[in-house]
Each structure stands twice: as C-alpha cells, then as structure tokens.
C-alpha cells in the first residue's frame, strides 16, 4: 500500500522506510514535523498514515493532533500512531466516537516486524491495533468490577480482543481452537453484560468502550 509517514528522528525514519519497503509497501512521503503532515496527506491521499506522536516544532503531541485533524478532513483515513511511551488518554482520543481504522502502538513493537506489519494491515482495513500495554493499563486500573469474575483464560481472550485481534489470531496465539475462543468470548460478553456482538471491529469498540467507562 501507499503510505505517508511522520518521524523526525533520522535513525528511526530510515529504519521505518527500510522495513516498510522491504514488506512491499511504498512510502510516498515522509514528514519531519507536525505541520508537514496534513499537506502531505492531502497531496498524496495514501492508503494509511504512520505517525510519530512527538514531533517538532513543539516536541509535544503534534503527531497525535495532526492525526485527529487529518481524520476530520479525510474521514476513514487509516492512521497508525507510534509513540515511545504509552498514554492512555491518547488512545482514548484516537478511538473516540467509535472510530475505525486507528492504531496506537509503542515504537518498541516495530521491531517485531511481522506483528507490526500485521497491525498495520489491520488498521488499513478498518480494524484496530491497540498496544498491549494500553490494554493492560485499561484492565488493571479498576477495582470492584465484573472483570474480577473473569477466568484467567477469559482475561487473556479479552486482552487480545481489545488489542484488535480476530478469532483466528487469538486462537493461534493461545494455542486453542477457534470454537473455544468463541465460547470464551461469549462468556466474557455475558459476564460484562454486553450485548452479543459479531466478530470484527464493532466488537473491539464495544470492549474498549466498556473498559473506558467501567
């Protein structure tokens, strides 16, 4: 696919481009600062954008703000945001309003090339990719919730679901059959009091909405 990336650190920029092109993607534009992002996206209309959160000139959250602005002007543009630290509120802003085709990952994950490329594919096709660390924080930051009634296996399933994985991936990650994954998911939804949902993006959003509000 055709990609626009934003990364100010030359070292990482070079690494990202190398990785993406080696996987057969085309990097059509590279932005080195926050204000360059939107024009690049509007000019090139890429299939997806991979943006660093902290960029010049302010070295704050320029990338994230550009991502939100871009999705207002180009609705449905898949955006994968990379960061060197996890900030739950950033994830909340990106996923706000039932957005689809967004991802928020730690930069550390980029090194797991296959998983990273898989996450990018998921985002590009309208799915979600949420960093495991964000999900862990979401799961651990609350007390006295129905989450406590989940079995350890159900928690694992919930976690992978929240990260944006489909049943097939969950099954292969946990080395169980897809049928038992479906069963676990049914139990999770039951225990959390969520309406049964088909697999796919809406399910992820339901889970995340639950975790954000619980």
């Amino acid at each position: 696919m055709r990609l626009v990336i934003a990364e100010d650190n030359a070292l990482l920029r070079e690494g990202l481009v190398m990785l993406l092109t080696s996987a057969g993607h085309e990097v059509v534009a590279v932005a080195g600062s926050g204000p360059e992002i939107l024009p690049a996206l509007l000019t090139h209309r890429p299939d997806a954008a991979v943006l660093d959160v902290r960029l010049p000139p302010g070295f704050r959250d320029e990338g994230l703000r550009a991502a939100l602005a871009a999705r207002e002007q180009l609705p449905g543009l898949p955006v994968l945001v990379l960061s060197q630290y996890v900030e739950q509120s950033y994830a909340g802003e990106l996923l706000g309003g039932g957005a689809s085709g967004v991802g928020y990952l730690l930069k550390d994950r980029v090194g797991r090339v296959d998983e990273f490329l898989d996450a990018l594919d998921r985002v590009a096709t309208g799915g979600t990719a949420l960093d495991p660390e964000v999900v862990t924080e979401l799961l651990t930051n609350r007390r006295d919730s129905p989450l406590d009634s989940l079995t350890p296996r159900e928690r694992e399933v919930l976690k992978l679901m929240a990260e944006g994985h489909d049943n097939t991936t969950i099954a292969s990650t946990l080395v169980v059959t897809e049928r038992s994954v479906s069963k676990h998911i049914g139990n999770v939804f039951l225990k959390l009091g969520l309406p049964p949902s088909d697999s796919g993006h809406r399910r992820v959003l339901a889970v995340l909405a639950y975790l954000n509000n619980a």
């Binding site: 650190n9 070292l11 990482l12 070079e14 990202l16 190398m18 080696s22 060197q84 296959d114």
Partner: protein
Amino acid sequence: MRKAARATVHLGLAAGLTFGSYLFITMILLAVAGAVVVVGLGVLPETVLLMRRMASAKRRQVAAWTGHEIPEAYLPIRGRLRESLRVATHDPCTYADLRWMVAHYVYGWMVLLALPLWPAALLVDGVRHLLGRAPAVLPLITRLADTEARWSTALLKPPPKARLAERVQRLTTTRADAIAAHGAELRRIERDLHDGTQARLVALSIRLGLAKRAYDRDPETTRRLLDDAQDQVDQALTELRHVVRGIHPPILTDRGLAGAVRALAASSGLDVTVDVAALEDGTRPPAAVESAAYFIVAEALTNAAKHSDADRAEVRLVKEAKALRVVVRDDGRGGAESPTTGSGLVGMRRRAAALDGEFTMTSPEGGPTLIEVVLPCGW
C-alpha cells in the same frame, strides 16, 4: 600629621553627610506628614531608598577610615506600590537607618571640634617636635575620627532581625532557582534518553526484526543487518554513558571527589596542579556537595582551556569547619565576565546557590581568572 589630616577629612565628610541628613530628615517628616493625608504614601518607598543610599555612602566612608566593611541586609524594594510600601515599613533596617540618622544629627559635627584643635596642634606639637617629644594634640584629632567611626559602625550594623530577614529572602530565591534548575535538568535528561537511547534501541530492534525475516533466504543481507545492529548497540551504550555522566559522574561514586577532580585535571588538556590533600583522609562531603563541586571544577577547567587560552591551572579543595572551599585558578587571559561565556558561569553560580553556597570570581582583562566557591556542609 598626615593621619590627622585624613582624620579631619573623614570628619569633614561626616559633617557633609550630616548636612545632607538635615535636609533629608526634613523631607522624611514631610513624607510622614504627607502619608497621613495618603498623598505622601507614594513617596515613602522612594524616601526609604534615598535613606538607604545615604546610609550606604556612610558605610563606605566609615569603611574607608577603619578598613572594615560594614555589611548591609536590606530587603529589596520593588514591585507595586502596596508591596514596596510593605517592605519599606517592615524592613527592620529602615528603623535602624532612621536611628542612625537622628543620632548622626548630633554627633556628625565633630569636625567642629577637630578644626579648633589644628592651631593648638601646630603650636603645641610644633614646640614638642623641637624639644624632640612625640606630638600630643594631633593624635586627639585621630581619636575623634576613630570615635566617630566606632559610633557609626555600631549604628549602621544591620540589626539581627534584618540579617535573618535578608537570609530568608536569599534562601527563598535560591530555593526557587534550585527547583527550576532541577526541573530543567530532568527535562534535559528525558530528552537525551528519548531522542538518543530509546530511538537507538528501536532502530536496533528494527534491524534485528529484518534480519530475522531475511535469515533463511538472504544470509548476506542478514549479516549486514546484524553488523548494523551491533553498531547501533555500541552507539546506544556511548550515549547512555554520556547521559549517566551528566546525571551523576560514576567516578564520584568510585573514587570520591579527590579522585574525580584528579581525573578531571588529567583529561583537561591543561597543566593542572591539584591540591586535594584535605580530602585524602577519606572523609567525604554529602553527595550533593560532591556533585556540585565536581561540576564546578569541570566547568571552570573547560572554560580555562576553551575560552581563556590558559596553559596552566590550579585546583584546590579545602576542608573548612562547616564548608568545602573549591578554588580554581588559571593563567589565561581573563575577562570571563563577558557575555559570550555566560551560560557556564550562570550554571556554576546556580549550582553553588542551590546549596546556599557562595560563588566569587575575579577575572580582570589579561587574567588571571580566580574562582572561589564555598559550599556549606557538615563533615
């Protein structure tokens, strides 16, 4: 004779100031009277400032006669009228100065006693001189000046309360500076780690990930990626070392301040004489003092080598009863107060101030530069 002449000049100047304070007291009475009808309130801080200037002039004049400085401990008058009025009326020095002024009203005219003594002195001491005796009247004039100076010193010394107030003021300022400097330091470290080490490690991870993908089908590429990865590790380690050194130099932990300063001297590129004998017995100042002393010496030696073109330098650490004294002298061309070398100096001053220490530097054009820092600490 010459001394008596100087004494007369001293007394004359004192009389001059007394005349000034006559005018002044009239003014202050007006201001106080004005204050009653509110209008004069605005003039009050200015009046106090003027009184301070007169008291300061008197302190200098007395110091010139006795050779002993009289310290000052004024609270700064600034800001809006309300604030400066508060300081002007609450500063114990204001009342001390006023007391001196009123007293000076009376004793400031001693020159009038000294002048009539002169004809007597010329006559009596002239005869005594011819008889081979020591002068008897001229020393009286000197004694008069001494008395005047002694009274002034006693009256102009800041009251203990004022010293305390001034000290609190100073500590408040240095504490705010220390907190700001600490915050800036943390931000710098975060940036160094974020832009340097963390980025390097991610780049390294990408190399390894790609190498893993290429492993089976393309050994040549794999090898190149692994070579790259190793370079990244080396650079990450180098950067990490710099960051760590900037936080707390490991050599301070390993060798103590004496060893660390010797290491600094050895790597400075200058011919440095190091005298750290005071610390060789193994006593160590608190870590914060060690660290501040280390960075001050490092900065001073860097400046000596880089800006002042020095060849030789001398570093001395002196253990005092309740402080560590750090002395750095170089044989460079001086002029260190110029704005181009500012930031390093500001850093040194800050580090000293943060620990309630004193920083003094003399650096005349043409050199030499002498830096002395006293860092209070218990041993």
